[in-house]
């Protein structure tokens, strides 16, 4: 291991580290623009120059490997002068428009010019101006500000795997453009906004909306896919202004998907802000008391088995638990959190988790995808798989609709029968999977939602067992279920599933349509067939006026994920907590509180009054809630049910990445993205574009 001296401090670092990384190890800051720890090294901004003894010129710290005996000075007169010079050159063509630039206040160039630059410019000649480029509805460009660090180019090529950003021209004439001047078509495109060290790429929807120092920052988690990406919610007053990623090595590194980042404008539209009660066939505004009384009246003389509850995709664990307890008190066994009808087996936890963990993907040696398209269902996870493919050429096999995953994948067919062949070892892929140390499979919701979902689940278990995906001795469990709903794992963990003799989602809807079920409680469940509920009395609790609320007889206004402190469990089985960034609008309340208040009116008071008490109850129901943010490995067991397979091909679990839930469906930005990207993809597929 090379030993070197930096600013008089002797330090020993692993071979292969650069001088800049060595400096970071001992807490010395070296200014930089182009270097980013998750991207390849470009070494083209020259801001990281340091003074190296016995080198006639200063060297770039980000690209120079640390070697034994080096004596580095980051703060000598020579280094300072070099940096000042580089900064002066960068500022030659950079407009001094900080007062009207959205990056102002969080700009690397601004900060570093202050600390490392000159106090005046000497350049009096003509400056360069660059025309604006179109990058789509999400990214706003101001290309005169670009300092050619190429971070955006490297991100697009390396992490996103959509090499649509590039540079043309050389030297001062270099310009960053997208190919064909089209929108940057990656589900992770918003991350280039964070990466751009200056204000060349800024957020379109957030443009001129606020200044960073006016915003209140709340650490929270995302619920628009099942990964539970760590986010920071920036709000001002009563409004969520934007969402940024928080670094989390286990889940999202420092990326988030475009839906996570840009769907927040949906939080301001179509909000249910007061209770409603249906009177003479029309929903009328009501008070909380009137709404509760109406529910009480509807439940009069109705027996427990005539009541049912369905939890939606965004429901938090606290409210699901409160609803489950309420249903138990009312004597109803009919409850289900799998509103899409996925045949997930709640009896064995390992059977519905992403057991390898997201970070564990980096250890996988081969991957079989069954009825899933992680690029659409979990773009951040897809970036992880892509990272593994870049590092070690991960072989990927795909069963399901053919899709571009941003890395090569062998499409072996779209037919559940293939699973039998693989499980039986008759398919060549079986050998390839068995031959490696850590094979994994990813089972998508598209495969589980089918009528033969339970049989596919059992087959997947068999594949995992027979093809060496279960290796407890080396701590490897390669069986993974990729969820699309943030609420699903939490719902299964607290047992929001039919009790003995209870009906599941399909059963509830059929029974409600047939008149056997009289009252249905929808906890944010919008993606069900609401027209099939017949004449049942429907209670909808949620935050957006979507399908569920339109059908409801009583609407109770709940809180969205940025408005409540609640727990969600991500697809790996990691419980995480959100925090209150803004208050719910109007009369809306946190969801578990609504259920607690309702229980009192119904005469079966739930035994918790505070968030703490319900957290304790949550812990009693399932000990995994004890450790927030930790994954507890689940014990392997028996799950799924053998059965006949369907011959129908798999269909994608999500047809439009940009609109999957009530929040993103209400978002104007997501509607624009749908228009631009989904339409474009259809065009490319059918070849009808000019």
């Amino acid at each position: 291991m090379p030993k070197l001296t930096i600013d008089g401090i002797e330090v020993e670092v692993e071979a292969g580290l650069t001088i800049l990384q060595a400096c970071e190890k001992i807490g010395i800051e070296v200014p930089r623009f182009c270097y980013h720890e998750r991207l390849s090294i470009a070494g083209n901004c020259r801001m990281c120059l340091v003074d190296l003894e016995r080198s006639p010129k200063p060297v770039v710290a980000c690209a120079m490997p640390a070697a034994d005996g080096m004596i580095v000075r980051t703060n000598s007169e020579k280094a300072r002068k070099a940096r000042r010079g580089v900064m002066e050159f960068l500022l030659i063509n950079h407009p001094l428009d900080c007062p009207i630039c959205d990056q102002g206040g969080e700009c690397d160039l601004q900060d570093q010019a202050l600390f490392y630059g000159m106090d005046r410019g000497r350049y009096r000649e003509a400056r360069r101006a660059v025309p604006e480029k179109y990058m789509g509805p999400l990214i706003k460009t101001y290309m005169t500000r670009c300092i050619h660090c190429t971070r955006c180019v490297r991100f697009a090529t390396e992490v996103a795997g959509v090499p649509e950003i590039g540079a043309v021209g050389r030297g001062e004439r270099m310009e960053i453009i997208t190919s064909d001047n089209k929108a940057f078509g990656s589900e992770l495109s918003g991350n280039v906004i964070d990466l751009c060290p200056v204000g060349a790429l800024t957020s379109g929807p957030y443009s001129y909306a606020a200044r960073p120092w006016e915003l209140e920052k709340t650490q929270s988690i995302d619920v628009l896919d099942a990964l539970g990406s760590n986010i920071r919610v920036d709000s001002r007053g009563t409004e969520v202004k934007r969402v940024l990623p928080r670094t989390s090595e286990e889940i999202n590194e420092e990326w988030i998907s475009d839906k996570t980042r840009f769907a927040v404008d949906g939080l301001k539209r179509q909000r249910i802000d007061r209770p409603y009660v249906r009177v003479n066939g029309r929903l009328r505004p009501a008070t909380w008391g009137e709404a509760f009384t109406a529910i009480g009246r509807a439940l009069e003389g109705v027996s427990g088995s005539q009541i049912a509850a369905i939890a939606g995709d965004l429901a938090d664990c606290e409210s699901m638990l409160a609803l489950k307890d309420l249903m138990e008190a009312l004597g109803s066994p009919n409850l289900d959190c799998r509103q899409d009808g996925a045949k997930l087996d709640p009896s064995c936890r390992a059977g519905y988790l992403f057991n390898s963990t997201i970070a564990g993907v980096l250890a996988a040696d081969a991957c079989l995808m069954i009825g899933t398209n992680p690029r659409i269902e979990a773009p951040v996870l897809n970036a992880r798989i892509r990272k593994r493919w870049i590092r070690a050429g991960l072989p990927v096999f795909q069963i399901g609709p053919e899709a571009d995953l941003t890395y090569p994948a062998r499409h072996i067919g779209n037919d559940a029968g293939l699973l039998q062949a693989i499980a039986g070892g008759r398919h060549e892929v079986a050998k390839l999977l068995k031959g490696v140390e850590r094979p994994m499979l990813i089972l998508g919701q598209a495969a589980l939602r089918r009528p033969d979902g339970a049989a596919i689940l059992a087959l997947a278990r068999e594949i995992a067992e027979t093809l060496g995906m279960m290796k407890p001795d080396i701590g490897w469990n390669g069986f993974n279920v990729l969820h699309t709903a943030a609420a699903r794992v939490g719902g299964l963990d607290i047992g929001f599933v039919p009790g003995s003799g209870g009906l599941d989602t399909a059963g509830i809807i059929a029974a409600a349509g047939g008149g056997e079920i009289k009252v249905v409680y929808l906890l944010g469940a919008d993606e069900i067939d609401t027209s099939g509920l017949g004449s049942a009395f429907v209670i909808y609790q949620g935050h957006h006026g979507d399908a569920g609320a339109h059908r409801a007889d009583v609407v109770l206004p709940g809180a969205a994920y940025t408005e409540k402190a609640a727990t969600w469990v991500n697809t790996e089985g990691r419980p995480q907590r959100s925090n209150v960034a803004v208050l719910p609008p109007g009369e809306a309340r946190e969801d578990w509180k609504i259920l607690r208040a309702l229980s009192e009116v119904l005469g079966c008071r739930l035994p918790y009054d505070t968030l703490r008490q319900i957290a304790i109850r949550l812990r009693d129901v399932n000990p995994i809630f004890t450790e927030t943010g930790q994954v507890v490995p689940a014990a392997w067991g028996d799950f799924g049910a053998k059965g006949k397979l369907d011959a129908t091909p798999f269909v994608p679990a999500i047809s439009n990445f940009y609109m999957t839930d009530p929040i993103s469906r209400a978002s104007v930005t997501m509607a624009k993205c749908t228009e631009v990207f989904v339409a474009r993809r259809d065009e490319e597929r059918t070849g009808t574009h000019a």
Binding site: A209, R236, G237, T238, E239, L267, K268, R269, Q270, R271, I272, D273, R274, Y276, R282, L283, H544, G545, A549, H550, V555, P585, G586
Partner: protein
């Protein structure tokens, strides 16, 4: 105005002029302070500095040696008439969108769009 000011004005002050609001402007007779004469105003009614018109303000602050009467007489078309500060009165300025102006809450950025069932 205090007795002291009144007495001082009576003994030492020399009336220079009166403006349209009825404020009277004085300067000291003979006595100089820091090398220049003293100039002051006795307000008509409440002491309200914004009732001093520009032509007198310039003189009062020793910006001009004489009140700028001729300049004030040839006011440009874009010059607005002097009026005292109206803050706190019913005529106070209310920016557009102010709830005090229209009595209704104007839409702002941070409003949400409620769901209205059809």
């Amino acid at each position: 105005m205090s007795i002291g000011t009144r007495l001082y004005t009576l003994l030492r002050g020399e009336l220079v002029g009166t403006d349209s609001f009825g404020n009277r402007y004085y300067r000291s007779k003979g006595r100089r302070l820091h090398g220049r004469e003293r100039r002051w105003v006795l307000y008509k009614g409440d002491a309200e500095a914004t009732t001093v018109p520009a032509e007198w303000s310039a003189w009062l602050h020793h910006t001009a040696p004489q009140p700028l009467m001729e300049r004030a007489a040839q006011a440009r078309s874009w010059q607005k008439e002097q009026h005292p500060n109206r803050t706190g009165t019913p005529a106070a300025y209310r920016p557009s969108g102010s709830q005090l102006r229209t009595g209704v809450h104007a839409r702002t950025d941070s409003d949400y769009e409620p769901w209205i069932p059809e």
